[in-house]
Symmetry: D3
Subunit: 222 residues, 6 copies
Amino acid sequence: MMIPKKLVVIAPHPDDETLGCGGTIARFAASGTEVSVLVVAGHLPPLYAEAAFETTRREALAAFKIMGVAQSAFLRIPATLVRDVPVAELNGKINGFIREIGPDMVLLPFPDRHIDHRIIFDACIVACRPVHAAAPKAVLAYETLSETHWNVAGIEPVFAPEFFIDTTDYMAKKNAALACYASQINHAPSRSVEACTALAKFRGSQNGCGYAEAFKVVRIVV
Amino acid sequence: MMIPKKLVVIAPHPDDETLGCGGTIARFAASGTEVSVLVVAGHLPPLYAEAAFETTRREALAAFKIMGVAQSAFLRIPATLVRDVPVAELNGKINGFIREIGPDMVLLPFPDRHIDHRIIFDACIVACRPVHAAAPKAVLAYETLSETHWNVAGIEPVFAPEFFIDTTDYMAKKNAALACYASQINHAPSRSVEACTALAKFRGSQNGCGYAEAFKVVRIVV
Amino acid sequence: MMIPKKLVVIAPHPDDETLGCGGTIARFAASGTEVSVLVVAGHLPPLYAEAAFETTRREALAAFKIMGVAQSAFLRIPATLVRDVPVAELNGKINGFIREIGPDMVLLPFPDRHIDHRIIFDACIVACRPVHAAAPKAVLAYETLSETHWNVAGIEPVFAPEFFIDTTDYMAKKNAALACYASQINHAPSRSVEACTALAKFRGSQNGCGYAEAFKVVRIVV
Amino acid sequence: MMIPKKLVVIAPHPDDETLGCGGTIARFAASGTEVSVLVVAGHLPPLYAEAAFETTRREALAAFKIMGVAQSAFLRIPATLVRDVPVAELNGKINGFIREIGPDMVLLPFPDRHIDHRIIFDACIVACRPVHAAAPKAVLAYETLSETHWNVAGIEPVFAPEFFIDTTDYMAKKNAALACYASQINHAPSRSVEACTALAKFRGSQNGCGYAEAFKVVRIVV
Amino acid sequence: MMIPKKLVVIAPHPDDETLGCGGTIARFAASGTEVSVLVVAGHLPPLYAEAAFETTRREALAAFKIMGVAQSAFLRIPATLVRDVPVAELNGKINGFIREIGPDMVLLPFPDRHIDHRIIFDACIVACRPVHAAAPKAVLAYETLSETHWNVAGIEPVFAPEFFIDTTDYMAKKNAALACYASQINHAPSRSVEACTALAKFRGSQNGCGYAEAFKVVRIVV
Amino acid sequence: MMIPKKLVVIAPHPDDETLGCGGTIARFAASGTEVSVLVVAGHLPPLYAEAAFETTRREALAAFKIMGVAQSAFLRIPATLVRDVPVAELNGKINGFIREIGPDMVLLPFPDRHIDHRIIFDACIVACRPVHAAAPKAVLAYETLSETHWNVAGIEPVFAPEFFIDTTDYMAKKNAALACYASQINHAPSRSVEACTALAKFRGSQNGCGYAEAFKVVRIVV
């Protein structure tokens, strides 16, 4: 049960969607789900050179292809400056993307150590409010290796998941997609493919399957 | 999505299952789900006269019939004395009921002001651990009007639901089932049919439907 | 006990004060309390047409009259842009209103899904710090139907009230005041008069009275 | 505002009532409140010699006299064995004491490191449920120096008070009452009169008065 | 910094100490720390055959030898029946072990899904109270694969660690010690050596080292 | 154990470092630790006259000398306007200070009622991420009398410390340093030397020593 017809994934930056739910995207896409990804921010000036944006966009498109993403869009907001966009404008753009597609499930980033993730989480929650009949029935927050686990326990929200998707048969695709992000994923302990695989193994061990991706439930309406 | 094939509801005492998820039982049963209810404790000596048990059991069976419950069992443990049953024995009995049926969804009581609810919550969680392939895929905790909302905010766990089941079309059946419990449901502000209907209306308003029952997700595995 | 002499209610937008504490205002006003309302933001450009502000202001004044509000003020900050006002300026305006009146009780909005509510909550808490002898002795946060209950459980603060005001005899006045807000209150499940009444019934059931409004205690000093 | 007519204080062991709310008892008694104290457990075999009970009981009565307690009772349950009393019996005894007096305010212990405090907290909360018209309108939990602050942050409930009673003018009486407990209060850092005074000074600094006692609100109904 | 002279590890059952802090034990022992382990409960009737106790005890002693444990003791309380031991007696036994050794660091189990872990956590916290000069200066709670992560998020305490010990160079010893527990550790997803290694890799990724064990700080006094 | 070689203290405004960890600074400096203080914001226009900055800077330097601070820097950002500095710029400045010194311990402000404290907390946590080998091994958050304890319990994070530093022998130096801040520390209940001493006495009573400073652990890696 719970294979959506249409899935929207909101990624703060290219690679967050693969780190957080690459196995889920691959599994659902293989099961017939139409998957759409919205990338909100990007590697743009003043923090990054203009060329960096195109590099990560190309990496993202290659990863999307491997995972079976049907369509994607990039909002081109400079990384770390998402909070400078007027609230109503940011909400409007994210809301527009979601309403046009009309998904039954939305995956959004957990509000963690990266300030863009927090601002985008807020905007996504507003966009997913159950105020009309087409609002998504399942809204889940995913974890992003490193950033999510640098929230301070006892002071900031902790990612304690209650929803798990078995990705045992899709780890190869996820790792292949991660490998596309040559400019982002490296061999540092905090964000390597090895660390990513270990996290999936640990999440699997929590719920009796081989590998899994974990989510915090924002809202499910049946 | 998410209509289970087999549903098990664990009720600490007769009426908790109707108060907490009577609309859900009625809706799922009408949709083809096989619903089984286990009532753990009952109105027995030393706190109640022996006859009280039979009264509430008859009321429960009448309510079960209205909601479409397929089968039920009563463990006959005296109310408020559940904690005196050896842990392994209580876990074993609840586990046995669940394993025999092999449900894909289990609804269990939130650990609230009533001590039996807390003990039974613990036993249910142990019984639902994902340690074998037949473990239930969806485990949810329901609220019980009055008891659940007497947990002390800031000291004890608060029922803050993220999972909602639209029961708009099944409120009549739920209220009819509640009406069977003549010995339990009364016109006191804390547990009247009016209060129960108001709660369902409020839960509905949280997620965009007319009436709803609310749940806290223990674990969902897809 | 606890009927204040002077009460200040801070409303982020017109109607929040009635949704959150209309029954309390009516009851206290009828008991001799001098009630003052400060409306911080309003329906102004760029999000709304200029005319919308006057409409809601007229609706608010009509509602205030029904509930017995003695005096009110409107800060005229455009909705969703409250965070753009310099912190010291916003704090100063709210602080100025409170200090001029010198209330013994202040009711302020819970920091929920609406970003204005969060910013105004912060400013109110600063304004109510116990740093001088005239600081208010009782400071309480009220809930706003829909917005408050869209905070994400487990990630954002949950409204779990411990303070209740019996409004059984003042529901008619509250509903009449709500009816004044023709442009705001509608028949959507999330914000209808029916949903509002259901919430009051549920809050009443938590503490043994017919209908009630619920609050989170920020600080009470006796 | 908020001076009760009748106040009930539940003390797990003799001295908890003075440590937690001695200044409040003295202030309210001096203001005309009828104060009643119920001491639940005591220094009895098997953990203590029989004589220890009488010693602490005499100390308690002396302290009660200084603070202005109108009446008191001792349930004589052996310390650390409160959990062995059947739940319904313990609830019944505490409930009986409260119902006979019919207080408008009840002060009860925070559920902290001492197991008796946890069991008695539970029983008091059950006894104070708002299920009849005479239920107490204000129910507050007090802190007990040392025990309360040994709960483990992030794992167990933390005492984060929102209700303060100014005891500046009653610290002398509180300290005199504490001095009666020669067998309990000593010069160890964790429970000395100096530590107790420092805590009151700190609580005072949180809310703008000289010295204060702090409480967690269980429920206030107006 | 922070290599203790004497370390005490409290294990509810044999294998918990290796699962939770086997790498730490091995690293500290190799650094000159005197490590002592107290095993509280065991595989005894009525839940297990008498012979099971000796099997797991032999496995434990083999594991202790590999990790470099200097001394150990077994309290021989039957598993799942720890709560039936009188509180004062259980506290006394654990306290006696700790006081005799006089450690500067104690590692104890997180209060999780296994009822014995909860009861023993309570007893350990009481035994480690800072009430005398020889009380341990660092008290930390460790996680136990599977049990710890079956606590229900939003209802029960979540293991959100803030203290990490780099065990990169001691994973081989930890795994060798785990391998001694042939009767306990198996290839089920929830408790295999693979899952255990994945958890250590994930914990390492949180704090910039290869592999790590994670702890929740109960108290550190410098 | 745990005396750092190099300590960095981040102070939002001059005096926060002394209020929160003046005793710790004095004790560590006396033990050979090289202590560096970064003051982020200051008393500058538009909220304060230009001259106020120099006054508090002189007071700070006098306090630093008493406590044994080896070096300090002032970023000269106007108080209450820290949030207007671009995130990447603020993070960069704090990160630069920390990386140049390479401390093994960092003390940073708890995110409390003062908006500058929240923004600076965020920036410090980013600067202390364990993403390179020289990242600080111990990161702790300190409390600031008054501001920290005005966070709203149940809505905002509560300062519930688990790490204590015994400052019994350094209270005289701390109080002398506080006395340097003639323009900041006064005789109001919320921030007097008396209140500060009472807090240290209370923190000491929690962990068995005379006086102490308390911290929340952000991360410790051994």
